[in-house]
Assembly symmetry: C2
Homo-oligomer: 343 residues x 2
Amino acid sequence: MSAANPSEHRGLDALIAATQGAMGDCNAIILARTQSEIDLIPALAGHLIAGGGKRMRPMLTLAGALLAGADINSDAGQMQNAAKLAAAVEFIHTATLLHDDVIDASELRRGNKTASAIWGNEASVLVGDFLFARAFELMVETGKIAVLGRLAKAAARITEGEISQMLLAGNPAASVEDYTRIITAKTAELFAAAATSGVMVAGGDDALAEAMEDYGMALGVAFQIADDALDYAATSDAIGKEIGDDFREGKITLPVILAWQDGDAIEREFWQKCLGGDIGGGDLDKALDLIKKHNTITRALDEARKHAEKAAAIIEKTEIAPEAQKISTALIEAARFAAMRGV
Amino acid sequence: MSAANPSEHRGLDALIAATQGAMGDCNAIILARTQSEIDLIPALAGHLIAGGGKRMRPMLTLAGALLAGADINSDAGQMQNAAKLAAAVEFIHTATLLHDDVIDASELRRGNKTASAIWGNEASVLVGDFLFARAFELMVETGKIAVLGRLAKAAARITEGEISQMLLAGNPAASVEDYTRIITAKTAELFAAAATSGVMVAGGDDALAEAMEDYGMALGVAFQIADDALDYAATSDAIGKEIGDDFREGKITLPVILAWQDGDAIEREFWQKCLGGDIGGGDLDKALDLIKKHNTITRALDEARKHAEKAAAIIEKTEIAPEAQKISTALIEAARFAAMRGV
């Protein structure tokens, strides 16, 4: 597979460089719009937003606007709207993280203490709601109702994905199709909405909006599969989560589904017991051994790479204006990065 | 005060009658838009929405549209948009209730078990998020971006109000001004947005939109003061909450603030102890005695009545088309009901 060629896998550097100016505006908007008379709101929101992350989603919005021909230097109005939209996308993402912290009581997020562990569940729910509302206020300011429609749909689908994931917890007999449907809703939907709405806000044509929609969807699936695989492979340093977080929460992800499918009766019983919440000392090590035995991290990452290549191919076959070639190259590299990072 | 005249206090009957047809459409939209492939969503949302309540907020939206001249019989497009908006308003309200259940772990809401007690916090947070997203989808369908702007602002203000209330919990030395500011944000803001956006979606003029904004704000304040007063007066049967819910949660409301202001040092110490979470057997009875001693339920309801009269006066001095007189009379009666119900 071509992605195995290291020269095609240069990470996010090009995308970061291409969106840097507008990302400065986006960050300023994020800072300004988390302000409130109530000090707790900027404190809590800032904790999570400053906590880092790669800002993949807002970068996709800005890249979409640039692909559509918005010019960072000369077209201040369009780029300002794109920056607002990018901030809105990051707010929606942050709101889901805050609500997710409440939900699964995870102790680590990006290597820091979760907001809910510091400020309590109540504050996390409410500040999440605040950011969600602020996201819609920002979108209203862009004046494009179609953009609001796309992101409202994404927000509904994200919660459907999270609910499906909650209902599937503890059940390793799930199919790969179930898993893919869930991560498409809970993760890829926002990637797709972020990317396509960037095109929309900058007045790009339908073909380009559709290409970015499909690119974002494939990228989001690749990204989530890789994230889930690394949960059984990476150390806290690498992705800011403790290894085995998903295992402890009974979350059903691809490495587990594949190990369960290939496992014998005793192995299946082990998975069922642990993912059902009955985890003893040494069980995580045993789970890691089974994952190694069935080679399911590598197999999951192969699956991620397929989706990443699909994303790259969509951009490759889309007609891009010569002045936006840098952006399209950056998007192709970003897709390959999504499936390879941390490996 | 004129509101003491029983003939001017005929409850919600007129408002219910005037909005009945459109409310049928609104209820059908609510039912249709809580559907999902995931059975849990309509089950959980339906539990709360079917649980009753007076549907004050969607009625205000429909009344606003009717005041603006939308005709239930002949102007299907405008009334359909108003019904969608009314459903969106009810979804926002329901989402805040679901998130509030998570927050304060209250055992009763409208006399039924809370959703979170049945399905768990995780489900309540996520279904609340789902309804919030669906609300914005419905608003997008009305095609009026100004309506989205007003309700997005309301959503942000509601969470600010809820956060302020959380931060004030346990502190009875709060001022009446603090309390009023909080209930204006957490309750009146949505009443105001609901009422004014009904005018906006039906193409009413700015003067009418502003009148309904101010009416909704005053009505919402009256409604919340009365609700808070009844928490120390009503039985579970009357308002579907157990008496003393707010006391147990350390919530700071007007009867408590007034009792604290008029209390001696020993009484103040008692309030501080109980609202700080240290409640012993007999303490609720003692609190009720103090509230009776200082007559603070009656005083709170007097305050509610002032806001209700303000709301009524706003409608009385607004120019209303002759064919919409029934609606304006109904709104005046509804305002008086808000401050008198259950007494």
